[in-house]
């Protein structure tokens, strides 16, 4: 059964060259990442992989300089401030997030999502934050709520700025979750019949209408983003948007399917620096 799915995937990927297709069979996450890097750099030899953290901006110098100007005085600074207050306000029991998370919550975002062997599933940073809340007698936030979880992570993730993405996939169960996320990424969905890879691998650097398409590597390191300067999007809210745009029904934010997708999608950005809360169109 599993083999069948993989064969279908391979067929779908045929046009992409053997490198990526072969990776779909029995590759390690590191080999998958290297294959993707090879694919992009052969296509765009003049763009450094390090610049992929800028997404589509890496392909367009004009938009990149507009972005740089906006980032000097980000229009969403008051939102980050709200997040900071949420982060610093103690729970009713007097404890704080910093007491509860490893390393006081600093320089940890690049370790997430991580596979929790005891729980047997992927744990995202948002889940770790919620675990902290419930362990201290607070109610969990809804993962899709931009006014609570969104704002809180908009600040909290800045504490990991500069950390290199460092997602680990160790052991058969972790590998199964990774493979599940990878399958979601490469499988066609929706009435319009796209996989994530149809756009962000096959067509990275192309335009869909006037929209330049970003490569999948580098996509996971800079969340949340403020679209249009004030509309907060977490990474999984973005996934939902991309599913909708191909007329597919997205699994809910925080679901195992999207968590596994985030696990795979983050690991291909391993080695790239984190930067929380950036501007996007």
């Amino acid at each position: 059964m599993k083999q069948k799915i993989i064969t279908n995937l391979l067929a779908g990927m045929a046009g992409l060259g053997i490198a990526l297709g072969a990776a779909t069979a029995h590759a390690t996450p590191e080999a998958d990442r290297q294959d993707l890097i090879k694919y992009y750099t052969e296509k765009y030899p003049n763009i450094k992989i390090d610049d992929y953290v800028y997404g589509a901006l890496a392909f367009d110098a004009d938009s990149k300089s507009q972005y740089d100007a906006i980032m000097e005085f980000p229009p969403y600074e008051s939102d980050i401030d709200k997040g900071r207050k949420m982060w610093e306000t103690p729970f009713k029991n007097g404890k704080t997030y910093a007491d509860c998370l490893p390393n006081g919550g600093k320089q940890i975002a690049g370790n997430f999502p991580m596979f929790d062997d005891a729980k047997g599933k992927v744990v995202t940073l948002q889940m770790a934050i919620n675990a902290c809340r419930t362990a201290n007698g607070e109610e969990a936030y809804k993962e899709s709520d931009m006014k609570t979880m969104g704002l809180l992570t908009a600040y909290m993730r800045t504490l990991s700025d500069g950390m290199l993405m460092n997602v680990k996939v160790e052991g058969p169960k972790a590998m199964a979750a990774y493979e599940d996320g990878k399958r979601t990424f490469f499988s066609r969905a929706g009435q319009l019949n796209f996989a994530c890879s149809s756009c962000h691998v096959q067509n990275a650097g192309n335009r869909l209408r006037s929209e330049l398409i970003s490569p999948a590597i580098g996509q996971a390191v800079h969340w949340p983003v403020f679209r249009g300067g004030d509309n907060l999007f977490t990474l999984q809210r973005r996934y939902e948007g991309c599913f909708k745009s191909v007329r597919a029904i997205s699994a809910p934010q925080g679901s195992e399917q999207l968590n596994n997708l985030e696990y795979f999608h983050s690991s291909i950005s391993n080695g790239l620096p984190m930067k929380a809360s950036v501007f996007r169109k």
């Binding site: 045929a14 046009g15 149809s198 209408r209 006037s210």
Partner: protein
């Protein structure tokens, strides 16, 4: 001024629904092949294809090749229609949506779009 305009439009629409037969109203709404090809909720071909002979084909995407000289390149019009109906039949890795197979457009709509594209 704006208000007045809206009022007039509303009256016009009302008049059609009140006086015209159902058939006439439908005929008035029937989109052309070009309109279907340009419509973002139907063909949306411009998302991916340039159409160099159509001056109003603006901000076109680059996923697919420009659509030009189609009757020369597709002597068999049925093959052109088949490409639009399900591009995966010719290239399993294509990123062009299967407009017929996935019922993004009806058979009649695809006929019209094919006619329009054939003329490019």
């Amino acid at each position: 001024m704006r208000k007045l305009h809206q009022l007039i439009t509303a009256c016009a629409v009302g008049a059609i629904t009140l006086t015209g037969s159902a058939l006439a109203a439908d005929a008035a709404k029937e989109p052309t092949g070009k309109q279907l090809a340009f419509d973002r909720s139907k063909g949306n071909c411009l998302a991916c294809h340039g159409m160099p002979t159509q001056p109003d084909a603006e901000s076109t995407g680059t996923y697919g090749p420009p659509l030009i000289a189609m009757s020369a390149r597709y002597p068999d019009k049925a093959k052109l229609r088949a490409q639009i109906w399900d591009a995966m039949a010719f290239n399993p890795a294509t990123t062009m949506p299967p407009f017929g197979k996935h019922q993004v457009m009806t058979e009649q709509e695809i006929d019209k779009v094919t006619d329009f594209i054939y003329g490019l």
